[in-house]
Amino acid sequence: MKTVLLHLPFLCGLLVAPSLSAQDRPQVEFGRLSPEDRALTVAPGDSTTDAYVLYKSMHLDFEYNEQDGPSLTERYHRRVKLLKPSAFDEADVVLEYDRAYSSISEIEAFIHLPGGGSLPVPASAIVEEKQGDTDVSLKFTFPRVEVGAVIEYRYLYRKKSILIPSAYFFQEDIPVRWAQFTAMIPPYYRYITLGATRMDVDETKLTNRAWGPRFNTAAYNSGQQKIQHGDILWAMRDLAALREQPYSNNAVDYVPQVRLQLQEVEYPTGGVRSIFGDWQETVEELQSRDDFGRYYRNKSNYNQLWKSAEPVLAAAATDREKMEAAYAYVTRNFRWNGRYGMLASAPPDRIFADRGEGNSADLNMALLALLNEAGVPAHPLLVSLRNSGAPIEAYPLLYQFNHLMVYLELDGQPVFLDANEAERPAGLPRSRALNHRGWVADKQHPRWVNLEVPSSRQTVVAEMTIGADGATTAHLQSRMENYFAFDARSALASGDRSEAPLVPDLLRRFPELRVVSFREVESEVVIPARFDYELDVELAAAQPVNDFLYVQPVVLPLLDGHLADVETRTLPIDFPYPWMQRYIATVHLPEGYVLEEAPSPVRLRAEDGSMVASYSVSETVPGTLQVIYNVQLERTLYAAVEYPALRDLYRRIIELQETPLVLKRAK
């Protein structure tokens, strides 16, 4: 992370950054294509790609008028070589904007034909489509698209707010020859940039340029002055195509990019106006907002809700019971509308009176109101959902948050509440929210906390009776906890036999499986985080061959092979939550068979102990075997360099769970 401060001392530091020489930089004129690029038939370094970005750029600039003040302009330019027909979708362009606060104009597009000549896309072929209340799409497609053609277009995107310019990504899923970000930033605006991308060209200088507003700093108004702008050129070249990898999270963070955020405004006539200062200032500002702090702290915003819920909460004696009661009340009386948010859309009372449907912040804001009113101190917890970027703690950047939860402490231990599905117990946020860290908007003590949830556990006890023909009846008793319990309850609710808990995993391995029965085992004391379940199935867990019977005792695999498929990774491995699975099978052998060979007991352990697996087979009584197989994952985040060790461990565990036992007919 670095700060771009357009003040001289910092600028000097930036100017010494390594940079390509001027003659290495492409001279690109819109609408004109070099003969070499026209003749190009393959992307250097990637002979199989179907398209190649020859050039793309974003230029950030500012405008000013006396009525509206400053605004942003972003000029985009893109030039792509089409190398195979599979890339022709590139020629169907859709540009989207929200006309409530932005616009797109000045669209120009050309196609450069491989045999010579260039054709414009006529303005009449650019179609505007309304997508909703204020969302607009501009669509156009290029004529005469063929292999070897180059499509090129540019447009102007205007934004009313100068707070957060659009993020600019240098790399794409096709190779890029040259990508650049340029900006002319008036000295009144101080931006920070996020990300640690090392540029091939990294130049920042000061350039004199006229720009409003006008300030009378001298005795006479001498008209619009030229002022020194921060003049930025950041560029990257020869970027390979991006690739997806399984078990990744926040992959976007690893794409080279520019993300700016306004930090301060300082006009010559006034002092510094801080857009954001530190987390303390930020929490104070948030807490003073209607749609944040006031909605859950000012009783006039939740009085009706409280009146309705009070009898339920009054019956709860302890803080924990109050927490459970408030959580249950909100999950039963509110509905999530499918949208996430860090700000409420309306006061809790209005949401409650209006069918109880709201975004994720609305539901959790109602929960905050009930908890605090009931005397259980609770605070908003802001998170960035998984795959929307890793949390940025160094600066109080609010835009990184897209979800609001509830934080409280019970018996000195943190509890995370995320009201939505009634079946998901208190203390288990939706798994999408588990992005490692969250910010507690506690007015007295704002802070970052680890989003750690209890390990999810599953224990399956299988009683298997195997026939000499391999046909097997199996009675599976299982206890699931936390996310496993929630997932199982959801699966059971579907009512579909093939989707019942554990069945899909069994079917993947035994497609001929017959489900005899399945049911939830209800206990006298309902523990929301626990799910007890029984399943009876018939399957062929053994294969008879001559005098041998090869038995697959682990009918329920605990790991799948996707993580171990590749040799190397570039992205970290990121699981949402820790887990532990136990599988204990009692295997009754067919009459006349004895165990000839079984794997030796084994215990596998990652170097740091974060992943542990064990496996053992023993003959408890003659004709009966017991197989115990455990896998435990305690860490959720592994760096890409740790992958080879994790991969090998995975492979060994998978080998264990797939290795059969050898029975032999007794003589």
Binding site: A87, V515, V545, E658
Partner: protein, 639 residues
């Protein structure tokens, strides 16, 4: 008894609405058990009224009341579609809980209008109006009431195709009413519905159909289209007018004439293209070769872009427009191709077709209607169909989801119903050879050569058409279980341009395929098992419709180190299974110490009565079992 008591309680709770009759939100609960058995939902009432006000305008009203008994078929969004020539004047949605209490009534702010995106159309004038109908508990009743004013294209295509009940759904009552103005005739087709009641008055004729008390038909896998087993009524106007073009549905011939009229005059080739076309075929030895040359010219020159605006849903862009832009939709590209063929003296017809795995309605001679969604071209002299939207299909290759169905040829004499060819199993499948060499270090050298042909090659041809980069192709093949990993040393992907064949070769070394247990090695012989098994169904009610037509040949060669010997897994006798849906044969041979497993599997389309489902299931269960072969090696014992 319990149900009656519950109902009584509910009726009391429903208050004044009980007086006189059962409130509609409670009718499903008051219905006999037979109407709730096997049902996820109950159509309480579905009143659909279509009033043709002229040969180009109409008014549509419907009121749909459905009680969801559980969440299985619950879809939160309630919607209807419209186009630029439609005006929705009423759109009301409400929900009721199990006590008959209104829990939701859509306000203006709850209703959203959005362009309809079907992911294939780049530009489309269809819109969808929708709202969420929240059901937080079940039973839950959703009431939807819509009124639309239609004109031109919307009015003609809007004539009711009324199928008021779906599978897993019962029906208490439904009514379809169509009013035709004096002088306008209504054409209709009834299926499992009592005949229409027809009444005439001064201003026209009214047709009315009614359905009552239908028990739910369970949805079952591999069942025929619901249109074959559930009631429907389809209607069309005898005469209509769209954007000044007059047409009729009285016969397929008439409808074809109308289609020809809106296509007329759009096949004039620009002069330079006409010259190029003639030059292209100048050296061709015969008509087949000319077609091939021009089809490739089309593929190189043009691409598919779907633009569906108004009558443009049926009327193609002109050949000149396509030539200028080098793009078009199915109609435009077929028209362009037809124009090129005409330029060299080859006659062709546009063909209306339903491109679907299984069409909901199968067009047939006795009722002309437009349930098509695609256009291809037919060359009668060669008995050849041309799919003009594909940049990569071989000449004359139509595609599996367009074969074996009734289509409408637009001939110079008008429409003519015809049928596309059925698939022959031997022409669709693969020949695949895999070599597996076990190494001393328990790695496996894997090498595979596969030739996919006919319908079985479509997926792989499409892969190259949509995914260009080698690594992306490998990722896709691995993700879909066609290759064992992505890090192989050799990958060759070749598409035959002149015939429906794709070959894929791949070599790699696998680290995790041998399970070691003491002196034993367990090894799955077949890396590509064909082990699909239909769902178990012990109480099958509906006939079985199995559509696959394939012929697969797989050969696996296994070599292993001298230090190992086979303990078990070698099959002495061939394994054979036969059923109306397929023939399976696998045998194992040993030559020079290497193991060869050769399997052929023929899959055949078949219609079976419900009581033969178990045998059908068992055939595939047997095949799946036979596909999962395990070889067990052990370290060779020295004597």
């Amino acid at each position: 008894m319990i149900r009656c008591s519950l109902l009584f309680t509910l009726l009391l709770l429903a208050g004044t609405r009980v007086q006189g009759q059962v409130p509609e939100a409670l009718r499903a609960l008051a219905a006999p058990d037979s109407l709730r058995a096997n049902a996820n939902s109950v159509v309480v009432s579905y009143d659909y009224e279509y009033t043709a006000t002229s040969d180009r305008t109409a008014l549509l009203r419907y009121r749909h009341v459905v009680t969801l008994l559980n969440a299985k078929d619950y879809s939160e969004k309630v919607y209807d579609f419209y186009t630029d020539d439609t005006k929705i004047t009423t759109f009301e949605v409400a929900t009721y809980d199990a006590f008959g209490r209104e829990t939701f009534k859509a306000r203006k702010s709850d209703i959203t209008d959005r362009p309809h995106s079907d992911e294939t159309s780049f530009l489309d004038d269809r819109w969808v109006k929708y709202t969420k109908a929240p059901c937080s508990s079940f039973p839950c009743t959703i009431v939807m009431e819509v009124e639309k004013k239609l004109s031109d294209f919307a009015a003609t295509t809007g004539f009711p195709h009324w199928a008021p009940v779906d599978r897993d759904q019962s029906l208490i009552e439904a009514n379809l009413t169509v009013h035709m103005p004096t002088g306008s005739d209504l054409l209709y087709e009834e299926h499992l519905v009592e005949g229409a009641t027809i009444t005439s008055a001064g201003d026209g004729t009214t047709y009315h159909w009614k359905l009552e008390n239908l028990a739910a038909q369970s949805a079952e896998p591999l069942a025929p289209s619901p249109s074959e087993t559930l009631p429907y009524v389809r209607t069309e106007p005898a005469a209509f007018r769209i954007d000044g073009y007059a047409g009729s549905y009285r016969s397929w011939q008439d409808f074809g004439k109308f289609m020809a009229s809106i296509m007329a005059g759009r096949d004039e080739l620009p002069a330079p293209l006409a010259v190029e076309v003639r030059e292209t075929v100048a050296g061709a030895a015969n008509e087949r070769e000319k077609i091939d040359l021009l089809y490739h010219l089309l593929q190189e020159r043009c691409r598919y872009v779907s633009i569906q605006l108004g009558i443009g849903g049926w009327q193609p862009f002109s050949a000149a427009y396509v030539e200028e832009n080098r793009f078009g939709d199915c109609k435009a590209l077929s028209n362009y191709m037809g124009a090129m063929l005409r330029e060299v003296g080859i006659a062709s017809y546009p063909v209306l077709i339903r491109w679907d795995e299984e069409p909901y309605y199968s067009p047939h001679e006795s009722f002309a209607s437009s349930s098509f969604n695609h256009v291809v071209l037919y060359v009668p002299s060669q008995d050849m169909y041309l799919e003009c939207t594909s940049k990569y299909a071989p000449t004359g290759y139509l595609g599996e989801d367009k074969q074996d169905r009734n289509v409408l040829w637009i001939t110079p004499e008008g429409g003519k119903l015809s049928r596309t060819p059925a698939l022959i199993p031997s022409e669709h499948g693969h020949i695949r050879t895999v070599s597996l060499a076990l190494q001393d270090n328990d790695q496996v050298a894997f090498s595979q050569q596969a030739e996919y042909f006919g319908a079985a090659q479509e997926l792989f041809r499409s892969l190259g058409a949509h995914i260009g980069a080698r690594q992306d192709q490998l990722d896709w093949l691995h993700r879909n279980a066609f290759l064992p990993d992505v890090s192989g040393s050799e990958y060759r992907y070749a598409v035959a341009s002149d015939r429906p064949e794709v070959s894929i070769a791949y070599s790699t070394v696998l680290n995790n395929r041998v399970r070691k247990l003491g002196s034993r090695r367990f090894f799955s012989l077949n890396p590509n098992p064909i082990d699909w098994i239909p769902e178990r169904d012990d109480d099958r009610r509906l006939p079985v419709r199995y559509e696959s037509s394939r012929f697969y040949v797989d050969t696996v060669q296994v070599t292993y180190p001298a230090g190992l010997e086979i303990e078990s897994g070698l099959a002495g006798e061939p394994i054979e299974y036969t059923h109306a849906a397929g023939e399976y044969r696998a045998e194992m041979q040993v030559h020079d110490g290497d193991i060869y497993w050769i399997r052929t599997l023929k899959l055949k389309p078949v219609n079976l009565p419900a009581n033969e489902y178990q045998g059908f299931y068992q055939f595939f269960a047997d095949v799946a079992k036979a596909e999962h072969l395990q070889l067990v090696f052990r370290e060779r014992r020295t004597k």
